[in-house]
Structure formats: structure tokens, C-alpha cells
Symmetry: C2
Subunit: 200 residues, 2 copies
């Protein structure tokens, strides 16, 4: 454990956070040891305690960091996409699906947090969901989507479907006749969009 050329506590902190994130996401908080994290981040175990206090506190910091980055990425995506009206929802689903496809760690992170009943992670995206729901409400008022559905539930439906698709991938692989990511996404979008079309 040779000393770094120059001391940089911020860099050290982020190195620890990165290594811890990778291990926690993969094995879950209970299965990871401080020794593993120390080895993976090239730092002594004592130094982790110095910076974060305890394993519990480190896990909390890792979660906060990860969810913050997730929320920022999603918000950037959401604000960049200013396509108006009817295609906005379809694009949102597509964007969210692609995001999870490219960030499998995020899905696992949420799953660990849910299992330990950590509801703090829900606060980070409450604003995002609120914003999405608002846009859906506007589309409803413009007559582009049926208006007898709670807008928040519209968001919840596609978030649940997409998230669980990636969470249970290995499980679903055994199901007869199941298709690829692309085939499933296409089918889901067909059903979802048709289900939300304005009623005659």
C-alpha cells in the first residue's frame, strides 16, 4: 500500500466510492467486506474508516452518490427532450429503456435499496416523476392522451415494466417464446400507446 505521490483527499474519497459502488452493486452491502473495498480502491482499511466512519455510513454515501448521478442524468435527458405533444411519451419510454439498458448497475442499486426498505432513494426522483406527470397532464388536456388515467400512474406503469424487465432478465430467459430487448420494447410500446390513445 504505497503512499500516493501527492495527497488528494477528494480523489481518495471518490476512489473509495467508486470501488465500493462496484462491489456493493455486484454483491450487496451485507456480502462485501471493508477489506475487499480497501484492496479494490488501493487504500488501507483504516483510511476508509477515517473518511466515512463506518461501513454503514459508507454504504449510505455510496447510495446517495449513485442516486444523485442517476437523477442528474435523467433530468438532463428529460429537459433535452422537448419534442412536443404525442411523441413525447413514446420518447420518454424509449429513453428510459435505453438508459437502463446501458446502466445495469442502476437497476441493481435500486433493487438492493428496495429490499432494505430504504425509501430515501424515492426522494431523488420524486421531482422527475412530478415533471413527467405534468407533461402527461398537459397532453391529456390537449386531447392527445385519454384523460381518465392518473398521470403519475402512467409514469409508474412504464417505469415498472422497463425496470423489472432488466431486473429479471435471467429469470425471463427461461420463459418460452420470450423475445429480445428490442422485440419486447416494441410490443410494450404498441400496447402502452394504444392503451393511452384518446377514447372515441
Amino acid at each position: 500500500m504505497s503512499q500516493p505521490a501527492t495527497r488528494d483527499p477528494d480523489l481518495t474519497r471518490s476512489r473509495i466510492l467508486d470501488a465500493a459502488l462496484a462491489l456493493f452493486v455486484e454483491q450487496g452491502p451485507a456480502a462485501v467486506t471493508m477489506r475487499e473495498i480497501a484492496a479494490a480502491s488501493g487504500v488501507t482499511k483504516s483510511l476508509i474508516h477515517h473518511h466515512f466512519g463506518s461501513k454503514e455510513a459508507l454504504w449510505t454515501a455510496v447510495k446517495e452518490d449513485a442516486f444523485l448521478r442517476y437523477a442528474e442524468g435523467q433530468r438532463a435527458d428529460l429537459e433535452a427532450a422537448s419534442a412536443p405533444g404525442s411523441e413525447l411519451l413514446e420518447n420518454s419510454v424509449l429513453r428510459y429503456f435505453r438508459f437502463l439498458q446501458q446502466h445495469p448497475g442502476v437497476v441493481r442499486m435500486f433493487a438492493w435499496a428496495h429490499l432494505e426498505k430504504d425509501d430515501s432513494c424515492g426522494e431523488v426522483d420524486a421531482a422527475l416523476v412530478g415533471l413527467g406527470a405534468q407533461r402527461i397532464r398537459e397532453a391529456q388536456q390537449a386531447g392527445l392522451l385519454r384523460d381518465d388515467i392518473n398521470p403519475t400512474h402512467v409514469v409508474t406503469i412504464f417505469v415498472n415494466t422497463c425496470t423489472h424487465w432488466f431486473e429479471a432478465r435471467a429469470h425471463h430467459a427461461h420463459w418460452p417464446g420470450i423475445g429480445s430487448d428490442e422485440e419486447f420494447l416494441e410490443d410494450f410500446l404498441k400496447v402502452f400507446m394504444a392503451g393511452l390513445a384518446p377514447r372515441p
Copy 2:
């Protein structure tokens, strides 16, 4: 740890399995100790090793037992419901939603299995999904449902939505405007059924 009135290895085994299931579901396999399981099941730690060999083997046995009971319950439900045609799908969704609502442990059990990439649990319900998909295919051929959607994907969509609803309950609680179990179920069914209605 007084000896039981009469020796009954089968009862002992099932007592251990029950106690282990409760603890594993609650805390996850890595966080539970053999000593906890022993205390909860009123049995010595050595006896658990005698009957199951190791913690790993016990966890496997617990999963097999739980998923088997799950699959049996679902199959019974599915066969009992012989309502023909268009209402069959809606009833399936309702039945699945109610089942998860009444068996929160099942949701967590699947989540733990998914996180450790255990795909063996997917084998237990492959047959169920196949059966469900077959019924949907029949409804498609009878013109009761649109036929341009993969029937397995139809099952996957509602399974994902319902499962994740209960898995992420605490998380969603922070989302603005979100409704109760009943309100969400109603909205989902509206979108889902309308999305699957035959195309004009």
C-alpha cells in the same frame, strides 16, 4: 433448547425451513447467520448442518421450497379460473395482483434470487407462463385480442408491472400524486386492456 417430546425429523426439517425462509426473505441470505436460524427454529446449529449440510445448501432448499409452493398456488389459481374469452386476461391480472398483495414474501424472494442471478427460479414458472401465453394466443385467434403482439410479452408486461409495484412500494410512496393499490390496479387495467383490444 429442550429436546422435543418426540423425535420427528420431518417436522424438524420443516421448522428449520420455515424459520430460515422468514429470516432470508427479510434480511437476505448474506445477512442471516446460522445461529439466528437455529434460535428462531428452536433447534441447535449443529442440527441444521446435520439436515442441510451447509448454509448455502439450506438457502437453496429454502428457495426451492418457496418457489414450488408459489408455482403450485399459481397453477391452482390458473386452472380454477376457466372463464372463457375476453375476461380471462383481466381476471389473470387481477388474480396475480391480489396474490402478490397477499404474499409480500414472494416478491422479496424473487428479488433476492434475481440479484444473485439465480435463474433456476425461472424454471418453476416457465410452464405457467407458457400456459398463460397459450390462452392469450387462443383469444387472439378468436379475435378477442389484437394479434400483432407476442403472447409471452403480454404476460411479461403485466407480471412486470404488478411485481415491481409491490417491490418498490416504499420508493413510490414519495412520488407526487400516486394512488393506492386499488387505484393503480384500476388505471393499469384500463390502459392494458384498451391497449390489447382488437385493432379496427
